[in-house]
């Protein structure tokens, strides 16, 4: 009998089975369920419709509610959604509710799940957001579901899953300083296509992956969905354990795929030979080398989101922007309040005295509050949202028509280094031109 992949082993353990095979439909026990302000209210509505107005959440300690999408807006319907979250959390006495307008507010759920220690190796985590696959960077099975599935989990603690085949992407070699995880994942998506990973697990492996920080690993798994993937996953190692142990005392299990596991697809990349890339409008798989689109005139740059709004994303961007001045409107939106706090406290390595926040301000950037911001457009008054024919270069994850607000806008996806280099020149620019 062939071995099992990491994803298969985690799913089997949560279905009470010795083994599972791709294509099996199984019921799994859920360790963590996450929801937010866009999908929480309708999920609660379905939960009460199906299980009764007085029904109890299966395990209040496993339900995490992180408002993050439409926070800094005057939209009355969006604000009502926050009220609904607040009332539901109070009614069910939910400890893991991170209320807006309080010191508990976190910002983007996928980044905050990591910060708060909910990403634990070997567990199964579902969320009402397609980028829930981000959590897989910690060696766990995580995927996005809709409101109905989330409501089902809220009532039962279980959900059906079709076991995915696994694709393996092995990154070898040493990462040059002008490349980031964003370049690697945009290359993968460009290579296998927008639906090349549909219904499949995308496992990232190889020395270059394990050399990455946890934040950079999260960039890889975050965009698994942009190739249609069910989950992105990276085996947990000592770095993972150190990150998790610093944030939670809860138990976890280190799981590794079997050495003789079979993969439906395997590809090996030598990162030392890769180049900075972008995804051109309007698809995440519309890959081009930065050198092929260099000089494209821009109206705007955007640094933020679960993909490109983590601390190290800003550290990289600040390295490029330090001492310079942006030539186009440049929006900076930290993913989480913890990231925002660190930007106000920490400086570039070897350059104490000036915070990263000040570096961005001095370069002429517009600074926003921790949230999903304009990554997905959002209400009309959202910070950084497009309203016309803007050409944007962004560290976010999607460039569909209208994704950042206006159907007429054109969005290029790129790494924080490439976005920062381009912001300085006003045209798409290879970071190798500005990195010393």
């Amino acid at each position: 009998m062939p071995g099992q992949t990491l994803t298969e082993k985690i799913l089997a353990a949560h279905a009470g089975r010795e083994r599972v095979a791709p294509g099996d439909n199984i019921w799994v026990d859920v360790d963590t369920l996450m929801t937010h302000d866009v999908c929480g209210p309708p999920t609660f509505g379905i939960f009460e419709r199906e299980f009764g107005a007085d029904a109890k959440v299966w395990d209040p300690d496993r339900l995490v509610i992180m408002p993050d999408h439409y926070i800094y807006t005057e939209d009355p319907h969006a604000l009502r959604n926050i009220e609904i979250l607040r009332a539901f959390a109070a009614k069910h006495n939910l400890e893991h509710y991170y209320d807006v307008g309080t010191s508990r507010y976190k910002g983007v759920c996928h980044v905050a799940l990591a910060e708060e220690g909910f990403n634990r190796p070997g567990t199964v985590l579902f969320g009402t957001d397609s980028h829930t696959c981000t959590s897989g960077a910690f060696g766990l099975f995580s995927t996005g579901v809709g409101n109905t599935d989330a409501a089902f989990i809220m009532g039962t603690g279980k959900i059906w899953v079709r076991v995915p085949e696994t694709m393996r992407f092995v990154f070898e070699g040493s990462l040059p300083p002008w490349l980031m995880a964003k370049d690697l994942i945009l290359a993968v998506i460009g290579d296998i296509g927008f639906e090349g990973g549909t219904y499949r697990a995308l496992e990232f492996d190889g020395q270059a992956v394990f050399d990455l920080s946890m934040e950079e690993r999260m960039t890889l798994t975050n965009m698994a969905i942009e190739a249609g993937g069910k989950n992105g996953i990276i085996a947990a190692d000592a770095k993972t354990e150190a990150f998790v142990r610093a944030r939670t005392d809860r138990p976890y299990t280190m799981v590794r795929g079997d050495a003789d596991a079979s993969f439906v697809y395997e590809k090996v990349y030598d990162v030392s030979k890769m180049e900075p890339v972008v995804a051109k409008p309007h698809r995440p798989d519309n890959k081009a080398k930065v050198t092929e689109v260099a000089g494209t005139k821009l109206d705007r740059a955007y640094i933020g989101s679960c993909t490109g709004g983590k601390f190290e994303d800003f550290l990289a961007a600040a390295q490029v922007l330090n001492g310079g001045e942006v030539r186009v409107d440049t929006f900076v939106v930290p993913a989480s309040t913890e990231v925002s706090k660190r930007l106000r406290e920490e400086s570039l390595p070897g350059q104490p005295g000036k915070t990263l926040w000040q570096v961005f301000l001095d370069a002429g950037c517009k600074m926003g509050h921790a949230s999903c911001g304009a990554c997905l457009g959002g209400p009309i008054d959202t910070f950084g949202r497009t309203h016309g024919t803007e050409v944007v270069i962004s560290t976010t994850n999607r460039n569909f028509p209208g994704r950042m607000g206006s159907k007429e806008a054109a969005v290029y996806l790129a790494s924080p280094l490439t976005v920062a280099a381009s912001a300085l020149s006003g045209v798409i620019t290879d970071p190798r031109e500005v990195l010393v």
Partner: protein, 188 residues
């Protein structure tokens, strides 16, 4: 699930993402209050660029301006339909607009799950790429048992892929009813 689904086709291209099906700015309405709920019908598919809205000619809104329901009840699309976000508002919006089925070459998995588990629209997969033969406004007749769709204008019948294991959930109505029928959860 009905045995037959008939209606006018609304034809779209490949990789219609959920931001096109229901743009993020519209996700704030209540999905239960009748006055707000119908807004999902009004804005269903309003994010599709005009040139690709209602193929082959384009420029046809799915829901007419100021209307809350569409005259089209079967959406025909290419590959990777419903890619992108996990918003259940997407299949929900199609249902509120009056759509009963989607026939696509392939689906993104979260949209597919949401359509099935919530019982919003029946997501059929076509064997051939119907986008190239069906035109917006064509009258379609889906025979669910036989797994076929007939295009009246052409007088031709095309095969649909079997619904497989999800047929049981679609038959039950949604994942909750399915779970009650199979004893997974207790009847209310």
């Amino acid at each position: 699930m009905k045995d037959r689904i008939t209606g006018r086709a609304y034809v779209l291209g490949d990789s219609i993402d959920t931001d096109q099906i229901i743009p993020a700015a519209h996700l704030v309405y209540s999905m239960t209050e009748p006055e707000e709920r119908r807004m999902y019908g009004r804005y269903a598919l309003c994010g599709v660029p005009d040139a690709q809205a209602g193929l082959p000619d384009g420029g046809v809104p799915f829901t007419a301006p100021d209307a809350f329901e569409s005259e089209f009840t079967i959406v025909v699309a290419g590959s990777n339909f419903g890619c992108g976000s996990s918003r259940e508002h997407a299949p929900f919006a199609l249902q509120v607009a009056g759509a009963e089925a989607v026939i696509a070459s392939s689906y993104a998995r979260i949209f597919y799950r949401n359509a099935v588990d919530g019982g919003f629209v029946v997501p059929f997969e076509s064997v051939e790429r119907l986008v190239d033969v069906v035109q917006t406004g064509d009258l379609l007749d889906i025979d669910v048992r036989a797994g076929t769709v007939t295009v009246e204008r052409l007088g031709e019948t095309f095969l649909l892929r079997p619904l497989g294991e999800v047929a049981a959930i679609l038959e039950a109505g949604n994942v909750f009813e399915y779970a009650r029928q199979t004893g997974m959860i207790k009847r209310a």
